[in-house]
Symmetry: C2
Subunit: 209 residues, 2 copies
């Protein structure tokens, strides 16, 4: 086949297919040849639309981050804004866990990532936090959110009971996987509560740097 009358590929179609493939089978499954097959095309054809594979993955990351609700900072106190944003971000990453390693390295040049950083940092500055502290708080939130999204704590323990014979306190660790949601969500909620409440206390005491 040479050039078709109607183009088979668009950047949008490619990103959508890549996103679905990554969600369904993971980052490693998303090779150029495999992605092309998914789109009914030969591998190198993708290079007519993206210069490298990294650009495709980056576009997927961008489309995921764009789903995070950053409007919450406009209508809320910084504490509530931070909490609602974190929950939205957390929920988006929970729906697309396989792309998290890409996001964990920072916003890079992605507009949605930069817009999110702008919204968070701006809200903290406008609340009165110092530049340095606002940066720390932003970093801290990213640590919690991507750290929790990167790998389930519960699933980090294998289901084989014999594995824990030598570790008296871990004798029920093989049951963790069955309570995955409660464990992982509970830990995230606890962390969010602890961080925001204690930041709030400091703020109310006038400690803002």
């Amino acid at each position: 086949m040479a050039r078709p009358r109607q183009a088979l590929l668009t950047r949008e179609r490619i990103v959508e297919a890549a996103s679905m493939l990554i969600d369904a089978e993971g980052l490693e499954a998303c090779s150029m040849r495999r992605l092309a097959t998914e789109l009914g095309v030969q591998g190198p054809s993708l290079y007519n639309h993206f210069a490298t594979k990294a650009e495709i993955v980056d576009a997927v990351a961008e489309s995921v981050v764009a789903q995070v609700d950053i409007s919450v900072f406009r209508a809320n106190d910084w504490r509530e804004g931070l909490r609602l944003w974190a929950k939205s971000y957390h929920a988006v990453l929970a729906a697309h866990p396989n792309i998290v390693p890409v996001l964990a390295t920072g916003p890079g040049r992605r507009p949605a990532g930069l817009a999110m950083a702008e919204a968070v940092y701006g809200a903290l500055l406008e609340a009165g936090w110092s530049r340095a502290r606002a940066t720390h708080i932003g970093a801290l939130m990213r640590y919690l959110i991507t750290g929790s999204a990167l790998g389930s704590f519960a699933l980090g323990f294998e289901a084989d009971p014999e594995l824990y014979d030598r570790y008296p306190h871990l004798h029920r660790a093989h049951e963790l996987a069955a309570h995955r949601a409660a464990v992982d969500e509970g830990a995230f909620e606890l962390g969010l509560d602890l961080l925001i409440n204690s930041l709030s206390d400091r703020y109310d005491q006038g400690v803002r740097r």
Copy 2:
């Protein structure tokens, strides 16, 4: 060359070389052929000592986690134990950042990882925290520690000033990289303080689940 009079490889030599290669050039640089070259050997020879590449990487992860000081739980209050352990873990990961993605998925079957989980969880249980809360606290600490180790927050922003023209609050984001240590360490220290202090407050108020 057939079998040499003195074995060229041992599991220890392989793990050591892999660890150095990963530290120096990253996980992707550590291919079987490259690692073998580093050891003065052909690629497939490594399979006489490890069944898969994943086993080698896992052994590197194990050797890194084994460097974390978990003795601190014996001589300290749970708060101070938690703080000292977290700092030790953080320092170890800062020295070996390229292996962090492997650790972030949990202890798996690695003895050092399981011993660490046992120490943390045991200390929390013996302090009086409920099983569920102790699990949450352990998960939360991992989120913070691996989240912060996974990618520098400061380096997540590119040094190109023009990138931030559209984002009024980010106009100095290109300077972040120059303050990498202050930003990243400040955020981690803040997070650790906030979490442990607020957990300590709850504990002192008798809220242990």
